[in-house]
């Protein structure tokens, strides 16, 4: 009894300290934290109350070539096809569905959005991206966008309640997944997994005119690391992310369109060959089929961009020149006619 008498006032005192902390933080410090750690909040706040098309993308909607005459992004070009509609861009480099789902959940419910267009990047399903070292800062930036009370979110941020593996652990996990995920072909293939294939490519090299050309070999290895995987819809975290986005869109009454980004198939073929194309095509077919079965419109740009329209020739990316962006935007625009039939016009 004596101990209870001793403890109870202290519990109240502790509660008062926490309450005061919460009040001071929410009133005077939260906004500064938001600006410092989650500046994307400003873009989210800028979404007009009535938005016809919300375009959510990663660097494919940010990058352009220096010598492009038309430097508009894909979403701006899309807006050009729908001049009478409000098209808003919510893009962030290196992001993917796992990050986008938090952005979307943070959009206030009073903002009426008719159609959500989101990039669907095949590479983001692979271990190379899932275990990327960029994931930790991205996950951290998302904490304050959550729907919890500000002091709870600060608590999560302080006590690392997010995916906070360090670079070394992520790299280790990536290598482990490349080892453990068996590559299955309908024919004999000499390498059991991504690591073996990558090692073999690094050892053999690409021989142009007889010698081993290291930068080209490096690029071929990058293609293997980026695309040599097979999506398992039961375990792939990205599938789960897209499913959650579809559920959220259904809840909010948004039309959903996935813009399946074009990959450099020509380069993949040239550097690595048909085996890699087989895997890329298999993953492509799987995601298109999987999401279309859920009633999502998938704009299939997977093979729509030819090699010459990729900006990065020494890296795997979905950064397109103006012709590439225009082509992708045009395809998306055509598919959006089902939701906005009267507003479409040729650019």
């Amino acid at each position: 009894m004596k101990i209870v008498k001793h403890i109870v006032p202290r519990i109240f005192l502790l509660a008062a300290i926490l309450f005061a902390t919460s009040y001071i933080y929410t009133e005077y410090l939260y906004e500064d934290d938001l600006q410092e750690h989650s500046p994307i909040i400003n873009t989210i706040r800028e979404i007009p109350l009535e938005t016809d098309i919300l375009y959510v993308g990663e660097s494919s909607n940010i990058m352009y070539a220096e010598d492009d005459a038309d430097k508009r992004t894909i979403s701006e070009m899309l807006a050009g096809h729908y001049p009478s509609l409000t098209v808003f861009d919510l893009s962030k480099r290196a992001s993917h569905a796992g990050i986008f789902k938090t952005f979307l959940a943070a959009i206030p419910e009073d903002k009426e959005i008719k159609t959500l267009v989101m990039t669907l990047n095949i590479r983001s399903f692979g271990a190379n991206w899932i275990h990327s070292s960029l994931e930790t800062p991205l996950a951290k930036n998302n904490v304050l966008l959550g729907l919890e009370h500000p002091i709870i979110k600060r608590f999560y941020l302080s006590f690392k309640a997010y995916d906070n593996d360090n670079e070394q652990v992520r790299r280790h996990n990536m290598l482990a997944q490349w080892d453990s995920d068996e590559l299955i072909f309908p024919y004999d293939f000499p390498y059991a997994n991504t690591n073996e294939w990558d090692d073999a490519m690094a050892a053999t090299g690409i021989k142009l005119g007889g010698g081993k050309i290291d930068p080209v070999t490096d690029l071929a290895c990058h293609y293997i690391k980026a695309y040599a995987f097979q999506i398992d819809t039961l375990t792939n975290p990205r599938i789960q992310d897209f499913n959650e986005i579809i559920a959220l869109a259904n809840e909010r009454g948004w039309n959903v369109v996935f813009n399946l980004l074009g990959e450099n198939l020509e380069k993949a073929d040239e550097l690595v060959g048909k085996d890699l194309l087989f895997l890329m095509e298999q993953n492509h077919n799987l995601v298109v089929d999987y999401f279309e079965r859920q009633g999502v419109t998938v704009v299939d740009n997977f093979s729509a961009v030819s090699n010459q329209y990729f900006i990065d020739q020494d890296w795997t990316s979905e950064h397109y020149t103006e012709e590439g962006r225009s082509h992708v935007a045009g395809n998306v625009a055509k598919h959006l006619r089902i939701f906005h039939p009267d507003a479409y016009q040729e650019d």
Partner: protein
């Protein structure tokens, strides 16, 4: 699982509640399961290393106890040392030796490449291997009787609060406490929470906010003037201290709530009057380990002067190598050892008293001198290569003036660090929990409120793991 994570905040109360609800006979099993779970949260497969270390030392201990002469025990001691040091070597030092051998071969025009291994360094490997080595040596020297209960022994090796970064406990101190039926003690509970609170404050508010400042200076010293580099070094000194001190406090506090008293690991080291005093106050559990298991067996100070100098320097070089597999750590150990010897020699020659009145002007001046010396040595501790250390020293002494880029240090960091320094001063030769318990109610709760507020609101958000975890 790190102490400053939500996972630990949920894990600890569950273990503590389970611990006190369970019959005392079975608590060891709960703690053992909790400890293995705690470790496996990081990399499950590495638990086999602790298991291997546990089984080998358990077996070696029992075998040694069966033999009455040291000569007969020796093979089992060697077996234990080989296993533990072998694990340590394979996971911590193999790449260092491989790289060094490759570099030496290349310098002699032998174009061979010794293999490098893509291992993750098992967290805490240097700590638990040293703890089990001390057990084997103590059994060998007949100082303790071996543990016959495998579960109890496994718990001694893996007790989660001190598993990954110490304090490195002795069997004679920790094991009896783990076996003793502990009834809930409100004083221990309060004191444990106090230690955890202060530890979180030191780690999350001071160390994690000081880290980005130290990082920018160590990453690009050329960009900053000497004044700012000095500031960066100052903040690194406190980052390192608060990081490890904070960790130790949380470890001690977590164990204390369960009635288990771990040894103190720090005692206001930056108020030390000389380098020797510093090493009596910094990472005490490691310093005493080296003293008992390396320095004393080498003869300690009961040898000729040159041998004594050799003993001191050798112990510090080994300590440097323990901290990390790189030449900068070895050099850091060598430097500290030499400083230790030089200062002791000067003090002896000039008959400078080491016993001084605390907080006198003399104390403060000598503490400032020691702090500056130690801070310089941290340059080698923090730098990845000698070239980096040299760039830092060069910039520190040649980027004069107050021009150039300046550090952006928040007022919050200055204020919280000032608060910490005052507290560290007050705690000279005292423990936080007992000291704060004696303060008036209002002062005590104002202090708690400030710490809680700072932890909730001002914590650094960069990804900075406990520095000593990497050792």
């Amino acid at each position: 699982m790190l102490f400053n994570t939500l996972d630990y905040i949920l894990f600890l109360p569950i273990v503590i509640i389970g611990y006190y609800l369970l019959n005392a006979k079975y608590r060891w099993a709960l703690l053992l399961i909790a400890s293995y779970y705690f470790y496996m949260c990081w990399k499950p497969e590495y638990v086999v290393l602790i298991l291997a270390s546990t089984l080998i030392d358990y077996f070696a201990g029992l075998q040694m106890a069966k033999r009455d002469s040291k000569k007969k025990r020796r093979p089992f001691l060697y077996m234990s040392l080989a296993a533990n040091l072998g694990i340590l070597f394979a996971f911590k030092y193999a790449n260092f030796f491989s790289e060094t051998a490759t570099n030496i071969a290349h310098s002699m025009d032998f174009m061979v490449h010794f293999p490098l291994f893509d291992f993750l360094l098992p967290v805490g490997i240097s700590f638990y291997t040293f703890q089990t080595i001390s057990y084997s040596i103590d059994v060998y020297n007949d100082k303790i009787r071996p543990e016959r209960h495998l579960g109890h022994f496994a718990l001694f090796v893996s007790f989660f609060p001190q598993l990954v970064a110490g304090p490195i406990e002795r069997f004679s101190s920790l094991s009896p406490q783990l076996k003793r039926p502990q009834s809930f003690d409100y004083e221990n509970f309060k004191n444990g929470l106090r230690m955890i609170l202060f530890g979180l404050f030191a780690k999350m508010v001071i160390a994690d906010n000081a880290a980005p400042i130290a990082d920018v200076i160590f990453n690009d010293p050329e960009l900053y003037n000497s004044f700012n580099i000095s500031l960066g070094l100052f903040f690194y000194s406190f980052q390192l201290y608060c990081d490890f001190f904070g960790y130790s406090l949380i470890a001690i506090g977590s164990a204390l709530i369960m009635g288990i008293k771990l040894m103190d690991n720090f005692n206001s080291p930056y108020l030390s009057v000389n380098v020797a005093d510093f090493w009596r106050r910094w990472h005490i559990s490691l310093s005493t380990w080296f003293r008992d298991y390396i320095y004393f067996p080498m003869g300690g100070n009961r040898v000729r002067k040159m041998k004594w100098i050799f003993n001191i320097v050798a112990v510090f070089v080994i300590s440097g190598f323990w901290h990390g597999a790189s030449f900068t750590f070895i050099f850091w150990g060598l430097l500290v050892g030499l400083l230790y010897v030089i200062e002791m020699t000067i003090n002896k020659a000039l008959k400078i008293r080491t016993e001084i009145k605390p907080f006198s002007a003399n104390h403060l001046l000598r503490a400032a001198k020691t702090f500056i010396i130690i801070s310089f040595t941290w340059i080698f501790f923090r730098s990845l290569t000698f070239a980096d250390s040299w760039i830092m020293f060069d910039a520190l002494f040649s980027n004069g003036g107050l021009d150039g880029k300046t550090l952006d240090i928040s007022m919050v960091l200055w204020l919280t660090l000032a608060g910490f320094i005052v507290l560290d001063w007050v705690l000279y030769n005292k423990r936080f929990d007992t000291w704060v318990g004696r303060q008036p109610f209002v002062l005590r709760w104002v202090l708690y409120a400030m710490m809680i507020f700072s932890i909730m609101v001002f914590t650094g958000v960069e990804e900075i793991p406990f520095i000593y975890f990497q050792f």
